[in-house]
Symmetry: C2
Subunit: 250 residues, 2 copies
């Protein structure tokens, strides 16, 4: 588990903190939680939780993203979920299990609100709106885990690359971010060479451009067209579950 540098951030009460789970809470609960948080910088490669070990902190990303990594046979690995400003690392604490189901690793540089896990656990007892939000988010995560499983099985590298780039872009909140071919390959569970090939194709079509890990999305529309249905499906799931309280029951 890595130490992350605290950062100071200008408070902006009008636009919110930048994490949707936090910003969606009623004012009273939100302020209570924020008092327990500090801001930290997300440094790519930093490991924030280890599988089967208790969380020491939970993280609400604002910019950038964290991957949940499943490793097999001690060697190969695969990202099963990408956590950004729409979610959090440590949501499974709402299930009462203190241990992390997977390794959590910072994928793309940014910033997050951090809270000690014990504080979150006690907050769950007197923040009903928080519990409600986390449960909804957990449902979304479950849907996406299985969506991801299918995508990894059936869709080719090109389409999955496009989907991955879109997902990182959304969470970076910028059309420019840092991500090497190797880290994308680890995300998708493929060879680095396969990414070089597929990314080169996108570059030649002027969809993206990159140099030494600095990726710029030039034409988001084309990227969506190149991606598999899974990207659109993910967006659909978010909007359906997280923004229609009528569908849900506490």
């Amino acid at each position: 588990m890595q130490q992350l540098k605290p950062v100071t951030v200008p408070h902006s009460p009008a636009t919110g903190e930048g994490n949707l789970l936090i910003d969606g809470l009623p004012r009273k609960e939100r302020l209570k939680l924020l008092a327990l948080c500090d801001h930290v910088e997300l440094v790519p490669g930093a490991v924030l939780c280890q599988v089967d070990e208790p969380f020491d902190h939970v993280y609400f990303p604002v910019i950038g993203c964290i991957s949940l990594v499943r490793s097999l046979d001690g060697r190969v690995a695969l990202d099963t979920e990408l956590i950004g400003c729409e979610g959090m690392l440590g949501v499974t604490l709402v299930l009462g299990v203190p241990c992390a189901p997977q390794r959590g690793r910072v994928q793309s540089h940014g910033r997050a609100l951090r809270m000690p896990a014990t504080q979150l656990q006690s907050s769950l007892e007197d923040c009903p709106a928080l519990v409600l939000s986390l449960k909804r988010y957990l449902f979304v995560v479950m849907v996406q885990l299985s969506q991801n499983a299918g995508c990894n099985r059936f869709h080719d590298v090109g389409a999955r690359l496009a989907r991955g780039l879109l997902m990182v872009q959304d969470r970076a909140r910028s059309n420019r971010f840092h991500l090497t071919h190797q880290s994308i390959a680890d995300m998708l569970g493929v060879q680095r060479g396969a990414i070089t090939l597929a990314a080169g194709l996108l570059q030649r079509k002027n969809v993206i451009s990159y140099s030494r890990g600095e990726i710029t999305i030039l034409d988001r529309g084309k990227l969506v067209a190149a991606s598999c249905e899974c990207y659109a499906a993910r967006i659909g799931t978010y909007t359906q579950i997280l923004s229609q309280p009528g569908l849900l029951r506490g």
Copy 2:
């Protein structure tokens, strides 16, 4: 959604009903829930819930199993989770979302306790032990979803076939069960021909035998040896989370 025939079953208070989630409850809650259940036969192919549609019933399998199926592009499909006597179909109701995250389809013949979804929802409010169990089980499901994703990505058909057979055998509670090459192929998301090949190999080694869908496990030890680490990992997750209350907090 299919109509399943009710069946009558000799009540056996000593050994329990046969579903671990139910049997693990304190007597009072258990009896209360059982009063809301009836027994139904699980008929292979029956669809018990549709993605994005509300559950009408939840199912606690006793014998046999139910698959959670993720279909993509309207054509191909993949099983992401296998539900047997260790779990239930509809556990996501504990998250307050009434809709099913995936299609639920009976995979192997058997029997289940069935309860109307609305009854479960109201039971959650005054059965704390039930909520605790379901949350733990949900955690296990999440771990396995990601384990499965990795397995489908990296392990070859032979190993996954062996894992799948072991999982079905455990839930069938018998070393003999019905499962055609085609349905195994759908489970693993591969071609039928690939299963015929891999299963033929196992048959020639006297690990299994089968004829027209009737599969018999001859040598469970060899089957475990042929399977990938994922089978052992699954068992490990179950025992770790579901049988060590000390690890957990409500």
